[in-house]
Amino acid sequence: MTERPESQKLDTPALLETLSSDLRDLLQTRNIENPLMIGIHTGGAWVAEELHKNLNIKQPLGTLNITFYRDDFTRIGMHPQVTPSNLPFSIDDQHIILVDDVLHTGRTIRAALNEIFDYGRPASVLLAVLVERDCRELPISADVAATRIQLKTNQHIKLARDKNNLTLSIAEAK
């Protein structure tokens, strides 16, 4: 697969701003005061770092690596260089904000929810993503998304981090 050089960039700082403020509003509506935040490795964890700062969340940020929960493990195998999940808190009866960069098929979120429930029983989980795109394969949707877009099947969204700047771009695979 080769990517065309002219990939389309999205205004990522603005999207992060929107996501932070929408998320703040939603927490208020739902009366959630002291939430825990968990980012899905790697893109989701980057986004979560930003949100965690913007929302002044007191609890440390958790990260989830869903490798052990993927449904395609027997097809794609094991990657040794995974960073293990790190949830430095008890999640029982806590309100959790689950963060990912892109919601696409929904399979990552399915895996993440399964893993979260192996750590305990949260009071609630809400899903915040930068981009909600089409082509869902499971009945999963985001509670907050900075933008919702439709893409062609050969297009995909990629989040990159350079120093501390996040950039989302849409690329086409041939």
Partner: protein
């Protein structure tokens, strides 16, 4: 016999794990890294991940074992695999045809992996040569040949305390001749780049070819322990010894048993390891086995992670590389 070829699939991924010999450094590091990821699973409330759900793993133990068999079983269960424990009385099974017949029967039950312990060297390799293409074989100890998962859990333990293999001096003390553990450890230490490996023991139980393995041989423990970072004690394997290779246990302990006194010759932060089961007062003094430098029980815990790593690597390999899952 090219043992290293049979262990890898066409993409160079681990298919069988029979011996450390022939495996590249990167493969050993991959096993250690993967095990590191699994060690967090043991700290969770629910000590289980769904990775190998629907896979069936048969433990074929032709030789007694408690620690190895139970940690293999726990590892498989923590990966959500189904486990069959088959204890085979060696005397009831003549090798060759009847063993293959048994394998065919287990294959017919759709078993995905065999974990094999056998008192004959080469047994796991023999089985690996004869299983169906989708089946993986893990050697859980064959005769005095190899015990690769034990060696890897030892490397994992060493790395936790001494992350840089290239700076270490490691001493292995005792019955090298009969020890599949020592053989596998030496291969692993060499592959991982440990510059100084010493073997210490009486002449009668250090094989003559030891020097060819890239180790320094000492018959005097006081000399051999000087400035080492890691002391690995081995169990005296009376059951594998023929004739009188050794003086009395008392005398052996006096010369080659690890005491607090002798341990002082090693570096102050040296760690003491033992694959178990330990013979207190034969190769190791109780106060050392239970002392602050001992990591013997941690080795047991790490054994679960290493076995989870090897099992999931062997059963999760595939040539398909589609990665995208959003």
């Amino acid at each position: 016999m090219k043992q290293h070829d049979i262990q890898l699939d066409k993409d160079g991924k681990l298919r069988h794990f029979l011996t450390i010999e022939g495996l590249k450094k990167q493969m050993l590091l991959d096993i250690l890294d993967t095990a590191g990821n699994f060690s967090s699973v043991g700290a969770r409330q629910i000590k289980k991940v769904p990775l190998l759900r629907g896979k069936t793993i048969a433990n074929l133990f032709f030789e007694a074992s408690t620690r190895t068999r139970t940690t293999f079983e726990l590892a498989a269960k923590r990966l959500s695999a189904d486990v069959l424990n088959i204890n085979i009385n060696t005397s009831a099974t003549s090798k060759g045809e009847s063993l293959l017949d048994m394998l065919r029967n287990l294959e017919a039950m759709q078993v995905d992996m065999f974990v094999v312990r056998h008192n004959s060297s080469g047994a796991a390799h023999f089985i690996a040569q004869h299983v169906a293409p989708h089946i993986s074989v893990i050697n859980a100890g064959d005769g005095s040949h190899a015990h690769p998962t034990q060696a890897m859990l030892d490397m994992f333990t060493i790395r936790r305390y001494k992350p840089d293999f290239s700076k270490l001096t490691v001493a292995i003390v005792g019955d090298i001749m009969h020890s599949r553990v020592a053989r596998s450890q030496i291969h692993a230490l060499n592959t991982l780049g440990v510059p100084e490996i010493r073997v210490i023991g009486p002449q009668t139980i250090i094989p003559k070819e030891a020097a060819h393995l890239g180790v320094h041989v000492y018959h005097d423990m006081q000399q051999g322990l000087q400035n080492v970072d890691v002391v690995i004690m081995l169990r005296l394997q009376r059951e594998r010894m023929e004739g009188a290779l050794l003086p009395s246990e008392h005398e052996y302990f006096h010369m080659f048993g690890l005491t607090e006194e002798k341990l002082k010759l090693a570096k102050a932060d040296a760690i003491v390891m033992h694959p178990g089961p330990i013979n207190r007062g034969v190769e190791i003094e109780s106060s050392v086995a239970d002392g602050p430098q001992s990591v013997i029980l941690e080795q047991v815990t790490h054994g679960i992670s290493i076995r989870m790593a090897v099992m999931s690597m062997a059963l999760g390999r595939s040539s398909l590389t589609d990665g995208g899952q959003n």
